[in-house]
């Protein structure tokens, strides 16, 4: 089996592609929409907005989430904001500008047509969210306020305090709840997708585990939308929520969906540093803090002094020094790497020396304590609660942490994977952020996909595809369920000596040390070797107490860790094959004399798409050439 990677980009000028495509797409007549059932897995911004919108249109939606209510999906934790090209600030913004910044921010490894469409619908998202009652920050005149984010020289970020993701998600959730009340969305909570069911080559259903009863359940539909987020938790420690995992995507990969650019991981520069072995997660401090906070380290190595005792001339404000035109708002990949370089030089601060300062002293002096508190009060409080340090008085200590994954299941312009009928939205797909995502773009993409893209492309699919009647009694459902049962029983039967968490932690060490901020051929080979051994050990020595008859949290976790281990190997393999540096993918062998990422456009202007070929054979690497017809490939400079 081999798949064709046709991105299905519409013909015509960039700015007209989407309108033309919408016009040419087939539509499902309003009275016929109620004959179709759509499964939406995940209820974050992508899944929530898609479920609400499709239900409003008249489709029957089955919505699944792993938490106890759709409102808890991890989009909720996004702090800083959402981009739009409204140009309300009169600083010269436009759709084209937002498009250009996003393409450049992704280091020219994303698809032009998708990114343009994203920029084009961004403004509709802001309008939509305001009309749903999202209390965005406003000026005294009643107009919407904006702030700046990394990688942009305009103020285009809309925000709701430090809780923008929460407010947007609650907007999407409220839209869902409206349709739940109308009976157009059936809600399934505390369910985890365990497999995809394909019939005649098309995605026609899913197998889920009812986490509370332990039972496996079957659901059939005319199309499946996967909105299950990213896989940053493969690193064990990340800013992701504890339940964020790769299982749904991974099972689809094993059923024939191509996995694109798995190694493209975003390491966010401003997180609270690791402080102990028991730690379960890392907490992000919003990028918006870099609007006013200055990042620095002591010029002297191993400087034992307190930050307040280090005079101005002995501080290295390294982002301002190296990137004068973007300063502290250099993009995430660049800022993270520079923080790592400083710590590698022995200039890191704090007890572990794996941290840099983010200092508000000058901003407080300039704008006053009250103004700074108004902007960041809740973030400062959160920092103090976790670290017991007061950032009004002493600089924050920050260090990069895994935050977002640009890679994901490959999709065409219609957001359809290599399996017909399986659509992938939001962070779970690969399409819009290339090798690095700019701040305030994730919320934009999740909502763009769910509100404004999928309603059109899905109707085209449903209207133009012959779909046979299927029921959950079909053999494909039975077989898929049986396969999950076999895996579950195997996990329960091992009764080894190590918990799933111990394996996960070990995997995390391989990933962070060798597939993290900086990668090398030797390191990646070591990681692949180590992860393979880990996988072998896992299936002989994992300890999963209990059985399937009830709420067995350890079983749920073990199944996720099993998939993370396999994914980890694929990420290392992908990083090894990409012999260049781009965005968040930094290969030590490929750098400029001043340690910036060195792309190889001749060989690597493509998305790498991996095809699963079976348990005992290596995955096959395919490529989708990325054609740049409107943007000139240039060295990405923020100097």
């Amino acid at each position: 089996m081999t798949f064709k990677l046709d991105p299905k980009i519409p013909e015509g000028p960039l700015s007209e592609k989407w309108s033309k495509h919408k016009f040419e797409s087939k539509r499902v007549n309003p009275a016929n929409k109620r004959k179709f059932t759509v499964i939406v897995v995940g209820t974050g911004l992508a899944g929530g907005s898609a479920a609400a919108t499709l239900a409003e249109l008249g489709y029957n939606v089955l919505s699944f989430c792993i938490q106890d209510t759709p409102r808890r999906a991890h989009s909720i934790a996004a702090q800083g904001g959402i981009n739009g090209a409204k140009n309300y600030t009169n600083d010269g913004d436009s759709v084209k500008n937002l498009f250009y910044d996003t393409i450049k921010g992704g280091d020219y490894r994303s698809r032009e047509a998708n990114v343009y469409r994203l920029a084009e619908v961004a403004n509709n998202i802001i309008d939509q969210m305001v009309s749903q009652g999202v209390p965005f920050a406003r000026e005294y005149g009643g107009y919407l306020d904006n702030r700046s984010f990394g990688g942009a020289q305009v103020s285009r970020t809309f925000y709701a305090r430090g809780q923008t993701g929460q407010q947007l998600l609650l907007g999407a959730y409220s839209g869902m709840m409206k349709m739940v009340a109308k009976g157009k969305i059936k809600q399934y909570i505390r369910r985890e997708m365990m497999d995809l069911v394909t019939i005649n080559g098309k995605a026609r259903g899913i197998i889920v585990r009812n986490l509370v009863t332990g039972e496996l359940e079957r659901y059939a539909a005319d199309a499946v939308l996967l909105c299950t987020g990213g896989y940053g938790n493969v690193f064990y420690l990340s800013t992701n929520a504890q339940h964020s995992n790769v299982t749904a995507s991974w099972r689809c990969y094993k059923r024939g969906a191509g996995f694109a650019n798995p190694c493209f991981t975003q390491i966010h520069p401003t997180c609270i540093p690791v402080h102990g072995d028991y730690q379960s997660k890392l907490t992000l401090m919003s990028e918006s803090l870099r609007n006013d906070g200055r990042v620095w380290v002591p010029k002297k190595e191993n400087d034992p002094r307190k930050p307040a005792d280090i005079p101005e001339e002995e501080r290295d404000y390294y982002l301002e020094r190296i990137y004068p035109s973007f300063g502290n708002l250099a993009p995430r990949d660049v800022s993270s790497r520079q923080a790592k370089f400083r710590c590698d030089e022995g200039k890191g601060v704090g007890p572990t020396k794996q941290a840099v300062y983010l200092d508000f002293r000058d901003a407080i002096k300039r704008d006053g304590l009250e103004t700074i508190a108004g902007r960041y009060g809740n973030l400062f409080e959160m920092y103090e609660r976790i670290t017991a340090d007061d950032p009004y008085k002493t600089p924050m200590m920050i260090f990069p942490a895994v935050h977002y994954t640009m890679g994901g299941l490959w999709v065409d312009y219609n957001l359809m994977s290599t399996i017909p009928g399986l659509h992938v939205l939001g962070e779970a797909n690969f399409s819009d952020h290339g090798a690095n995502r700019l701040g305030a773009s994730a919320l934009m993409q999740g909502l763009a996909d769910g509100y404004f893209v999928i309603p059109y492309t899905l109707s085209n699919y449903l209207a133009s595809t012959p779909l046979e009647q299927v029921t959950t009694e079909d053999n494909a459902f039975k077989d898929a369920e049986e396969a999950v049962k076999i895996q579950t029983n195997k996990l329960l039967a091992i009764k080894g000596k190590k918990s799933a968490s111990e394996f996960h932690k070990q995997l995390g060490h391989y990933m962070w040390d060798y597939v993290g901020m900086s990668r090398s051929e030797a390191g990646l080979k070591k990681a692949i070797d180590g992860i393979r051994k880990l996988k072998e050990e896992f299936w002989q020595n994992v300890n999963v107490p209990g059985d399937t008859s009830n709420y067995n949290l350890e079983l749920h976790k073990a199944a996720r860790v099993a998939d993370f281990i396999e994914l980890g190997e694929l990420m290392a393999l992908d990083a090894l094959e990409r012999n260049e540096s781009c965005g968040g993918h930094f290969r030590e062998e490929y750098q400029t004399s001043d340690n910036e990422a060195k792309r190889d456009d001749e060989k690597f202007t493509h998305a790498a798409v991996w095809e699963y070929t079976g348990v005992n054979s290596s995955p096959v690497r395919h490529t989708e050439e990325l054609k740049f017809e409107n943007v000139k490939l240039a060295t990405r400079s923020y100097k």
């Binding site: 106890d68 934790a77 920050a137 406003r138 504890q242 992000l284 107490p545």
Partner: protein
């Protein structure tokens, strides 16, 4: 800060194998608790010990572990989320306790929140109240330009104060009546403050309050325990605004049943 040294703690944790089984408090001891650990990380450590002994780990709800998803729940020493100001359970750190402390950990208890297992409860009733009207009916594609409607900053700010609710249910668990008026009031108030929410405001108040009352939540008798334990410090002023909205609607809002179909 209570301590910089690692601690030993005695825990009394509610164990209940399923919704119908009988539950009881079980004693556990955890050594080597670092003051920098979060409360949930401390239970993770205990759970790893239980798993290694082949025992069933303690089931508790959690997800983001940064105080925003609203999934963690737990009564700690009789207080929802431990009773620390503006703090969810996942953001409680062990430096707030001292060596040798005994800590009692129970699930959120309320008629509307039946226990699923151990410390995990079913808070589906919150979704049901939201589905009864906690939204603005603005279907995708209808929206006018975002700046077409001006909203004074103080109003937007107050709406945001109410919108900050994370739906954790601490208000219900800490209320002697098991009332859901704070989380519901916050939503009704948020949408009533904003001009976009006006067209549906009376309908929303009537339907949500009615649904709330049928789901096993009690009424508000102004104890204000909810405000004291709310991890987002949501004020009971929003309950007052909800009451005004409800009264206004009860007296003045009527929907005639229509069956004339239209063109």
């Amino acid at each position: 800060m209570a301590s910089n040294e690692n601690m030993t703690l005695n825990l009394k944790i509610w164990r209940q194998s399923n919704s119908t089984a009988e539950g009881k408090l079980v004693d556990y001891r955890v050594d080597n608790v670092s003051p920098d650990m979060s409360f949930l990380e401390m239970i993770d450590v205990l759970n790893e010990q239980l798993i290694n002994k082949g025992e069933d780990r303690i089931a508790f709800d959690h997800d983001c572990r940064e105080g925003i998803c609203g999934m963690c729940s737990m009564m700690i020493n009789g207080k929802a989320h431990g009773g620390f100001k503006s703090t969810t359970t996942c953001q409680v750190h062990m430096r707030l306790y001292k060596n040798g402390d005994t800590i009692v950990i129970e699930p959120f208890r309320a008629t509307a929140f039946p226990i699923i297992k151990d410390l995990t409860v079913n808070r589906g009733a919150i979704d049901k109240v939201m589905a009864a009207g906690g939204y603005i009916s603005a279907s995708t594609g209808n929206a006018p330009d975002a700046n077409a409607m001006l909203i004074p900053k103080p109003i937007a700010d107050e709406a945001m104060d109410a919108a900050a609710c994370i739906g954790c249910g601490a208000c219900v668990a800490s209320c002697p009546n098991g009332s859901g008026m704070l989380f519901m009031g916050a939503k009704i108030s948020q949408l009533a403050l904003l001009p976009q929410g006006q067209p549906e405001a009376p309908r929303r108040a009537l339907n949500m309050v009615h649904t709330h009352d049928t789901l096993g939540f009690g009424n508000c008798t102004n104890h204000a325990e909810c405000e004291a334990t709310c991890p987002k410090s949501i004020s009971i002023e929003h309950i007052a605004r909800m009451n005004r909205e409800y009264l206004k609607a009860a007296f003045s809002y009527h929907e005639k049943k229509r069956s004339d179909g239209g063109a």
